[in-house]
């Protein structure tokens, strides 16, 4: 059974098709890039997988089942916005995650927090947006999940942090788990991708192995993307 499968998945808002007949499968043990310009439906797709939206038609299947308690146990999701209760301290949110997710490793979270020099006693309201995003990434990566879904994890971070994020993703990517990274900053992450899904205007326009595409097109994924969408 596939880890994640989307079957004829469509989503409409006000009779406008945001996603149109999306079909793909993600097996275990892969890092997959969900690539597309801003506003092409990447986040909508990710929200459908995470039960934050309900499909207009079609199905999302995680281990063969629609999103629900079981899928939430095994998916670790980093949204593109800050989603923590800002009145809490960092240590409080670590405890929160520990209470709700069985696969959460708080020692690891504290280790990563120390590495990024984030104060565990600091209130989230006192933190910059960038710092809050780092805290969220640490929380998400400190779970031993089957599927990590990272929505624009590299947006607006400095190069040093970006390298750190990629390292964190790689070093936490355990066997049997898969990672979906949605981004429009392709050059920064294409090195670590196994497979890519290009999405444009709510449709999948290209899927395949990253190295196969490089071999065939004799250029980088980033360049293929630029040529395809002329940006």
């Amino acid at each position: 059974m596939e880890l994640l499968e989307c079957i004829h998945l469509s989503k409409e808002f006000d009779n406008k098709k945001i996603l149109n007949d999306i079909n793909f499968k993600i097996p275990r043990g892969k890092i997959v890039g969900l690539l597309g310009k801003n506003g092409t439906g990447k986040s909508t797709l990710i929200k459908l997988i995470n039960d934050l939206l309900t499909p207009t038609s079609g199905d999302v299947l995680i281990n063969g089942k629609n999103p629900g308690v079981e899928s939430k146990r095994i998916i670790s999701y980093l949204p593109e916005r800050t989603y923590l209760d800002k009145g809490m301290r960092v240590a409080d949110v670590v405890k929160f995650f520990e209470e709700f997710y069985e696969d959460f490793d708080s020692d690891k979270a504290y280790e990563l927090l120390a590495k990024l020099e984030l104060d565990k006693d600091m209130k989230l309201t006192k933190m910059s947006k960038g710092m809050q995003e780092k805290v969220q990434l640490i929380l998400v990566m400190s779970r031993k999940a089957d599927l990590y879904i990272l929505d624009e994890p590299l947006g607006g971070v400095d190069p040093a942090t970006r390298d750190y994020i990629l390292d964190t993703i790689l070093s936490n990517f355990n066997e049997g788990a898969s990672v979906i990274i949605s981004t429009h900053l392709i050059a920064d992450i294409e090195r670590i991708l196994d497979e890519v899904i290009f999405i444009d205007k709510g449709k999948i326009v290209l899927t395949g192995s990253a190295d196969e595409i490089r071999k065939k097109e004799k250029t980088s994924i980033d360049e293929v993307f630029r040529r395809m969408f002329k940006c």
Partner: protein, 119 residues
Amino acid sequence: MKFNFDNERPIYIQLVEQLRIGILTSEFGIGEKIPSVRDLAMLAKVNPNTMQKALAELEEEKLIYTERTNGKFVTKDVKLINNIRDNLAKEKAYEFFSNMKKIGMDENKTIDYLRELIK
């Protein structure tokens, strides 16, 4: 060992090339154990799957071999390593001569020039 990549060519091919050079330059010495796929992937900052593929390619070339429980080792076959070095040298030499030709130096001139240079 340091890795460098461009995104224009398949990453696993670049990995194979650079690991191969690592073996030829004894960065990974003859018969020595090489780090695990995970550690190597972290070192090169690439996907472990890609590293796995590169190592499989090197194994196909017999440059490395797997001991069932202990991990992967560099071959003890010195002849094979030398062969591969020869091939690579040949390739590089041809490339060099063809580049020299492009700037108007034929083979004889190039050889004379090289003799002059290393004196």
